[in-house]
Symmetry: C2
Subunit: 200 residues, 2 copies
């Protein structure tokens, strides 16, 4: 899809793409910036000792771009049954179970995004030392963009779990999300501060 | 440009689009999410009292999507003279002045992005109360995405000012950037926390 067209659809009255798709887009952007830093570091003598590791990072970040972009249509697909469930008359006996299942399904995409970002954060961290020092502002932008993807995805878990009747499952899903977010947000923030300290 | 093609170019060895373009993209994404929240709030009885204000917010956020997306090619255009300046032989007497001017020009785009984000932050804030309460996770994603755009843009100011010989001008540009960032980052973070408190 065209970038401008995507923004137009994001801005529109249509519920998807929305915050879930936007978080996946931020994750893909962060992975792409990490790829760029590797691409502009590889082949430089000063970083020759990291050649194998840089190649491995690039393989993963390239895959993460694809995987995170794929979450944009996946998020829209997971939302459709939820929208359908809300249209079931409130008095219908099957409504509660269908709605509950749709809510669980709607959390699957932001949780998958969080899993993917959990793989990305240590790679961004390693580029603080193993990425070219003239590319450090891009490492910093990757970190802050990854952080916003993490925080956006967790909101998209909570917005669904809060409506679940099965509170035990809701709390388990929240805990799964929180476990993927909290430490990673701190790590992204630390990268941003390290980069800022180099640039100021 | 196609979304996947944009990510491919971001990830590539080409220096632009890079962190500057990615920050502008995050800003546009945040503005688009704010637009969506307004689009899905307008016409609801509960928010009728805010109708005029919501219409004004939408006019501005729609303009900001266009303006922020336009900074992606503008950032690439502003980088070109800098790349050219670095190619001038170090012993050439005109090099220092050309490089200095190119560095100043390269800060112009992230500073423009920061100005645009400075207009966006209060609109996102107002949607915490004036936006539909069922859209609050999207308000939160807009806030964290705007925050990453702010932090990314300021890194792209500092990465250029640190190389300037005219330290007085460098510090003035840094101060201009810091004035646009610090308070707005806190305000975005506050929106995120407010939304999180509603969802948990």
């Amino acid at each position: 899809m065209e970038l401008e067209q995507f923004m137009h659809e994001l801005a529109s009255k249509a519920p998807t793409p929305g915050g879930g798709g936007a978080s996946a887009l931020s994750g893909a952007t962060a992975a792409a910036l990490a790829s760029m830093v590797v691409n502009l570091t590889q082949g430089k003598k000063k970083y020759a000792a990291y050649a194998d590791e840089l190649a491995q990072i690039l393989t993963t970040t390239q895959q993460l771009i694809t995987d995170l972009l794929a979450q944009i249509p996946a998020d829209a697909a997971a939302f459709a049954p939820l929208a359908d469930a809300y249209r079931i008359p409130k008095e219908a006996p099957q409504r509660a179970a269908i709605l509950e299942a749709a809510l669980v399904q709607a959390t699957s995409v932001p949780l998958a995004v969080l899993q993917q970002l959990d793989s990305l954060v240590p790679l961004i961290e390693s580029l603080v030392t193993k990425g070219s020092q003239i590319m450090q502002s891009d490492v910093g932008v990757a970190a802050v963009t990854c952080r916003s993807a993490l925080e956006g995805a967790v909101l998209n878990v909570y917005v669904n779990t809060r409506l679940m009747h099965d509170r035990q499952q809701a709390l388990a899903l929240n805990a799964e999300a929180a476990a993927l977010v909290n430490d990673n947000v701190i790590r992204c923030q630390r990268v941003y501060q390290q980069v800022m300290a180099k640039l100021q």
